[in-house]
Amino acid sequence: MMDRLARRLIPARPGAASLALAGTPEDTLEAFDVTVHFEGLAAVDGVSISMRNGEVFGLIGPNGAGKTTLVNAMTGFQRPTRGRVVLGGEDVTGLSAHELGRRGLARTFQAVRLFRDMPVIENLEAAAVGTGLGRREAARRASRILAWMRFAHRADDWADTLPYGDERRVGIGRALAMAPRFVLLDEPAAGLSDAECDELMGLIAEIPHVFGCGVLLIEHNMRVIMGACHRIHVIESGRTVAEGSPEEIQVNPDVLRAYLGTKSADARG
């Protein structure tokens, strides 16, 4: 039933089989001992994570902990000084961003980075086209995703006219339009109201089922994290502090000290 729905939402891509995109349950995304140095300083220091398809995996940590740098290193925007990134058993370390995108790794940005002078629908289409789809297929996929997000009525609006919350929604839609194997969401809830957060949480929770992918979620908002994630990985100052289920993380003393201690204001659940 779920598979059928997924297939309906995400029409089979030409050549999808050969690229092995979207949907194998045993698919994994792993980072081994990833380290990123900026002018001698380690922004990320020996972090290893492993997540699989169908999972919502949380990555949290105080500001400047190295979360975004880790995501950059995993998505080809930053070459790791050391360590490996492995996607479905294939070593993809050092591949460029667009090559990783084509292999099924999608991401959003903290600053959203929409294609501002283009309509909403084309934002999604461009991402679909980027993974090799034809224009017609891309349009179909894009409008289905917008429909799923209940955003089809604004498909023809220019992206730079959207309110902030909607921008973030389109940003996620754009990443999903790539029919990714894993989607990395970088603080999707930043600046959203509580109501918007709840809606977002619902969407994120659905993603693995509807799109047959894994989700890596970076978030400050504990409510979103605890509500949506199956597992959570905590880093601070570039190093791993803890990993576990939301329940375990909530009571982990190291996390409380490292994270809640410094960012208690943000971290209220």
């Binding site: 925007f77 961003a97 294609f115 002078d117 629908i121 461009a126 089922h209 509807v210």
Partner: protein, 377 residues
């Protein structure tokens, strides 16, 4: 989809087509109106001016294909005009003219080839040159890319002005058959408009425009930016080549120094004054600046407006044009069109339904379906 739906679609097809190609259709018709008006007036001098403006339009559209879609400024496109112009001269000069000055290989020296195939061949040569130089340059971004294209122009200009056997060096190459009139120039403008528009709507154009808006997001979306730029660069060079070809067959003479900074600036100015991010802007820029130049030229020569002869001092044209360009940019920094195309004036008529299923889906209990499944473990 059932039968009635398909019939509906077939009936709607012309309207949908009109809407999809509304921009190039309207722009082509606009140019046609101008050409018809001038043709009806029988003014041969104005017809020459309009022909020159239409040739410029082909060039600016060529420039737009790359700059408009990629957002990367390029200073080197005069290279491709030059390659196209000289290419077509080698093919279409009479062997008599070639024998005096050029030392071409036998297949060129002894023959004069037909005009249209020669034009396309010459433009393809420009496209090939663009492909070769584009492979390394398209990896660059921003101002570095712009300067790199300028360096290419500098190299080719210097090389062509010393390549006496093929180009007569820096001297003007005369005797090129003259056949380009308003109608031929118009035909190429229409071809360029449709080609540019189809490209910009294609998946390649879409991907490139995405990279113009945000390089990082585009890369994350799997878009290979250098490759997409190269596609636009080559297509752009093809039409710049056609522009050079048309100019050669319009003037009857070509010279290397005419493919240097002046023409580069004029074309860029037309594009940016019109609005570099839309095809409409590109064409509007050409029309506005060419019209201003013509009016001022007439004023310099003394324009009879019925009751009085208006005139301005000689040389005022250049000053006024420059001043007006600055003023337009001050008031419309995004160009006259501000990056928008010709708007579709008929509301929802002919609206392109991208996926009929999607509209239904929005009202579908789809999400409820998902939620239910979530609920069921």
């Amino acid at each position: 989809m059932a039968g009635p739906g398909q019939r509906d679609l077939i009936l709607r097809l012309p309207v949908v087509g009109l809407r999809v190609f509304w921009t190039p259709i309207v722009l082509s018709l606009g140019m046609l109106v101008i050409v018809l008006a001038v043709w009806a007036s029988g003014d041969t001098v104005l017809a020459l001016a309009v022909t020159a403006a239409l040739i410029r339009a082909v060039m600016v559209i060529g420039l737009y294909i790359f700059i408009g879609n990629s957002g990367v400024l390029a200073f080197g496109h005069a290279t491709f005009m030059m390659v196209g112009a000289y290419g077509v001269a080698w093919l279409t000069l009479r062997p008599f003219n070639k024998s005096f000055a050029l030392q071409l290989p036998e297949f060129l020296a002894a023959h004069q080839y037909p005009m249209l195939p020669s034009a396309i061949a010459a433009a393809l040569l420009a496209a090939i040159v663009a492909f070769v130089v584009g492979i390394p340059i398209m990896r660059l971004s921003g101002i570095a890319a712009a300067i790199a294209t300028l360096a290419v122009l500098g190299m080719f200009k210097t090389f062509y002005s010393n390549w006496s056997e093929w180009t007569l060096g820096a001297a003007t190459m005369p005797g090129i058959p003259i056949y380009v009139d308003m109608w031929i120039a118009l035909a190429w403008v229409v071809v360029a408009l449709f080609a540019a528009y189809i490209y910009q709507r294609s998946k390649y154009g879409l991907a490139l425009r995405a990279s113009r808006e945000d390089e990082f997001a585009a890369r994350a979306a799997g878009i290979n930016i250098p490759r997409q730029r190269l596609v636009a660069f080559v297509l752009s060079a093809f039409f710049m080549g056609i522009g050079g070809v048309l100019e050669a067959h319009y003037l009857g003479t070509i010279a290397v120094k005419n493919f240097w900074l002046t023409i580069t600036f004029i074309l860029l100015a037309m594009l940016i004054v019109g609005g570099q991010r839309s095809l409409t802007g590109a064409l509007v820029g050409v029309v506005v600046i060419s019209t201003l130049i013509e009016i001022l030229n007439s004023l310099e020569a003394g324009m009879n407006v019925g009751i009085a002869v208006l005139s301005v001092p000689i040389g005022a044209q250049e000053l006024t044009i420059a001043g007006l360009m600055i003023i337009i940019l001050v008031f419309r920094p995004d160009g006259i069109m501000g990056g928008r195309e010709v708007p579709w004036p008929f509301g929802k008529v002919g609206r392109i339904v991208r996926d009929p299923g999607a509209v239904e889906a929005e009202h579908d209990p789809l999400r409820r379906g998902v939620a239910q499944r979530d609920g069921a473990p």
